[in-house]
Symmetry: C2
Subunit: 317 residues, 2 copies
Amino acid sequence: MLALIAANGRAVVQHDRPAPVLAPGEALVRVTRAGICSTDVEVVRGYRAFTGVLGHEFTGVVVSAPDSAWAGRRVVGEINVGCGECATCRREGPEHCERRAALGIFGHDGAFAEFVALPQANLHAVPDHVPDDAAVFVEPLAAACELAERIHVRPAMRVVVLGAGRLGLLCAQVLALTGCDLTVVARRAATRALLAEWGIDAEADTQGLARACDLVVEATGSAAGFELARTLARPRGTLALKSTFHGLATVDLSAAVVDELVVAGTRCGPFDAALRLLAAGRVQVTPLIHARFPLAQGEAAFARAQEPGTLKVLLEI
Amino acid sequence: MLALIAANGRAVVQHDRPAPVLAPGEALVRVTRAGICSTDVEVVRGYRAFTGVLGHEFTGVVVSAPDSAWAGRRVVGEINVGCGECATCRREGPEHCERRAALGIFGHDGAFAEFVALPQANLHAVPDHVPDDAAVFVEPLAAACELAERIHVRPAMRVVVLGAGRLGLLCAQVLALTGCDLTVVARRAATRALLAEWGIDAEADTQGLARACDLVVEATGSAAGFELARTLARPRGTLALKSTFHGLATVDLSAAVVDELVVAGTRCGPFDAALRLLAAGRVQVTPLIHARFPLAQGEAAFARAQEPGTLKVLLEI
């Protein structure tokens, strides 16, 4: 089958990739659409030394599954594959299993291919009126929802999102749902215009922002974002980290202690909540689509996704 | 008056230091005993570019105060001096005022002197049956209590304290009060013996500890402690930072995001709670006293406090 794989620091189209071999409990999904995420870029750069099929944001149609009732259904799929047996799997789910794999990130082939295998338990049916172009955003939107799962965001809070890229714009919309006093720092005028359409306050930089934010969401995708976020949080405020990147960050931990900050990392989130928000039209995702490429042009798609200012690049399969 | 000051990267005895000039609202306290803390060492090393009288852990007797009822009372004193007017002072108290000073750390002379000035509002009376040798520990014990103020520590939690120095041993005792499943990592056999006397489990290293702790308290005083603490916390666990030091730390923030850790900095704490614990004998502090020096030998005391394995060094004034 056709696939886009990580090889020698590049994303490379492979024409003769063998079709996935199903592990026990796994379903086979014919991928119809997939999205390129900053994590994919970091994986190619060596974030997890992965050499398989890339991709973890996708929607598709079930070809086969242990429960035949799934066959033919339009689905999205959670990306973490846990052992299902350890204390962490039982308490926290597969997201934090020590032995887990993650589709297209480590230990398991991903979805930039004609077919992807994943545990049937990871499948979520997509409502008929949610188009593929929206369903493909369920995984990153769920990650944005995880902010609200891990941090109690309230109307009385002053919140700033740093970074208005693919993930930052989804985080901003999820945060806006809470009624908090929200500002998004977005360098690009086009992004600020998009935020304005959504009724979300946007600023070009942090100049006018006081060191008084109850919550600062770091979604810049860079190590430097932590220090900037830290300087905007009020004493005893919360700093939410959304970025993962290849490499270490140099940070002023002593200052975080002196200010008694809470720093919360958040990652994968609830697919059911994300699907419900999309189905209800409470979050807008299609304005984030900046380009579409057939999978055979996956290398060009990957290059495009890395151009500054590019939001979501979709692969059509 | 006699004082120990920070000068050119050293702690230096000054014999002719002018007595403190009282700001409005301040009391004058004749210091009877003071303790040397790792923060004092960091201040001398340049943590806050401070050149005044060192010291913030002390007990003494009030000489004068705006309210004359304080005169002659034995007291301890909170170290943060806020403006009292800003939103932060009103909401959080002086600990986080943007314009604050901190006794012996920045902006205000400290307590390694015959006399110290501080706001009357910062005073706490010491019960008669709490001796000076215990009262001098109120400030660091309050900082240890702040752990429980900022993090909900419960009996069902697995907790590890990394670092069994001056502050780590106080943190351990405060955490032990909660009934949590506590282990302290203490390199020195003498410290482990002390912990055993208190009924607290101690290990020489982290070899036997699984990556399964609900809460890891980093009290090593070193930047490397963060990374070690991170590897012991379970996914979605909490990492409490107690150390402040001069310099930046290089940390794997991406790993903290992937594990969805909560990192909580905690600093100064409630003096009233600390006094109550001391008065009730629920925390032991005098076994931490390793040496005593008269203030005139403050330079030797400071050197002693920096010797590996030394717990509390007191100055008698």
